[in-house]
Symmetry: none
Subunit: 197 residues, 4 copies
DNA sequence: TCCTAAGCGAGACGGTACGTCTTGTCTTCCA
DNA sequence: TGGAAGACAAGACGTACCGTCTCGCTTAGGA
């Protein structure tokens, strides 16, 4: 049996879901930058004040959608990996597969601004996800000159991942998830190897 | 002796210079996104319509300033390089050195939006600069699996370069230009080597 | 008890009232032409977009204020008049009396542009007010040569009325409402008599 | 033989004539209010600074054209008049005849704003033209109650004249000059008679 | 069953940046 | 040296969006 609080939550969840879906459907139609709050409200049939009750702005809604999507990814199993430093990028294939379910529609042009937003937040999320691995492995690094700070290294991984992801979606490449993942690995692994072996 | 056209140009050049300088000085004080056109006008002592005569918007002014800065870079000599594929990133040290002259002041926070703009345009410029080298060298590539498209590869180089550049400026790192350039090379060279050797 | 619609109306009415009062208070301080929309907004403490929601421009606001003022006039009783054609100008004394309550302050200079606007609209309003009388009485006209068209005649009455009204306000004449009304009648009645007797 | 001064004058006169003709030709095409200085410059093939050398603004150019037109009127003979007070409106027929030569073209819509401008200036000119007559005749007035000030009376005559003139032009009435003059006299004479007999 | 509090839609509102437009001044060159 | 060309500062315009707000309606839970 549900408590009052839970029922209340159900209404709230439904509204938030409407908003997220409205935003994603709009992203399929036009550039993220040119979507304005009113577009979302009209699509979701939600009042202006309701929107601002739940989200501070458009970007926050986008980030909330991202978290939503990554939530299901996080419970996935880590694949056994040949090299220990490959664990740093364990997330890539699951995310590509997750995205794969949504990327077919029409345009899905996140554009330069949307990419920047996602980049900023995914980086924060990834940083948390891989912080331990990186720290652990960075202790063993010995070959790079000059030493690469953990901060810039995490940014590099996230940046390259988003780059490939975005190219995959925007170019509507026919590559399957594991194909684009191989591409990502081809770009990133040499640098990882150089840093950690 | 100057013609009428050239004198006219001199007035225009002066106005555009005032605007570029105003924008750069403002970037040192606050986030690029929060700079509004009127701020620039007040700083440059320029009328609103004059601004729009020369530039379509704030971003165009920023890009114009970037081109200005890169113009001096482009005339530099290519350093002889140990490996042929290193020619692809010949631009990195000159650009770091060029930026170095401007990055000290106070904040210099380009921020998420400004970074996106610069990224977008620098990538376009870099793409042109290295297109020949990439094409030439891509003929010889033999090791990567899967093959990496020229398009995504150029984006990868530009993206990583901007990432390092931005980190350098925003973190106010004490690294000298050649130090940060080494850092950039440490990130990018392993992947280049894997792609072209 | 009020419905939602009526409450909404109350907010809107209040905003429109603020704007009208701001404009009238500004007219007392400077020339109508030199009043810009921002002056009105600052005085009324109203946002720019709100202004344009309610009024297309400054002139429309002025006209709206005129209608407001004339609304109270229109419910007045027609005074019994010695001559039937005097009914055509029944409105003059009530309007002079209405204006009299507002014309003291300081400058109240409507100026050339404002006069033109008011003229244009008051003429339209007056035309409607007296259309019936004119038509009725024009059936009986017999003396003028050439016949005067109804159109030009109405314009003549309105034009002369505005002329006297404007002179009264701008010259800050000490004449009381009925005094200036007598002046108006002295100018207009001979022509009316000639036209309708 | 002409002196340098005279040659210079001729050039100046030519430029001013070009500007006047440009304005009048534009008035035939669109509303006076919506004509901007640049329209006149383009039509007259005159530089912006040249315009402002000769005229303070658009209105001054219009007034200058009016004076031009009235200059030829002023040399006309006063017609003998049955009543002495009719001398006050001696100008009406000559002006109607003068205008008659220009009013056929297409639109010739002076509009509300242009009318106001002309009104303002014609009133000044007429005031000078008839000042003596009015003063002379006002000494003899005995019938009006209340007494009508010379100021408002002149305005009344000018206002009514412009009204009829404007109606004649804008309605493209087929009335000949003496026909519209009769109309004007039908409106104005009863009041004149009442004031001066 | 009624009551009460919260979620909600609708949309008015103040604020503010935008890009456009026009004005009147100024500078430079040319005939 | 006067006029054409047109860059320029100034600033008003009307539009667009934002984030805040006020208002009633709905709705379900606890009284």
């Amino acid at each position: 049996m549900l408590t009052g609080k839970q029922v209340k939550d159900r209404r709230i969840q439904k509204t938030q879901k409407l908003l997220r879906e409205a935003l994603f459907s709009l992203i399929h139609e036009k550039n993220y930058d040119s979507i304005v709050v009113k577009d979302i409200l009209d699509r979701a049939n939600v009042g202006r004040s309701t929107f601002y009750t739940h989200f501070g702005d458009k970007d926050e809604l986008l980030v909330s959608g991202m978290h939503d999507m990554l939530r299901s990814v996080q419970v996935m199993e880590l694949p056994p990996s040949a090299k220990p430093y490959e664990q740093i990028i364990w997330f890539s294939l699951p995310v590509f597969e997750q995205i794969n379910q949504h990327r077919h529609a029409s345009g899905a042009r996140i554009g330069i601004r949307g990419r920047a937003i996602i980049h900023e937040h995914l980086q924060k999320i990834l940083a948390e996800l891989i912080a331990d691995d990186v720290k652990k492995n960075f202790q063993n690094r010995r070959k790079t000159t000059p030493p690469i700070s953990s901060d810039i290294f995490v940014q590099y991984v996230a940046s390259t991942f988003i780059l490939v992801l975005n190219w995959w979606v925007e170019s509507q490449s026919p590559l399957p998830p594991n194909g684009v993942n191989d591409l990502f690995r081809a770009l990133i692994l040499p640098t990882l190897a150089a840093a950690f072996e």
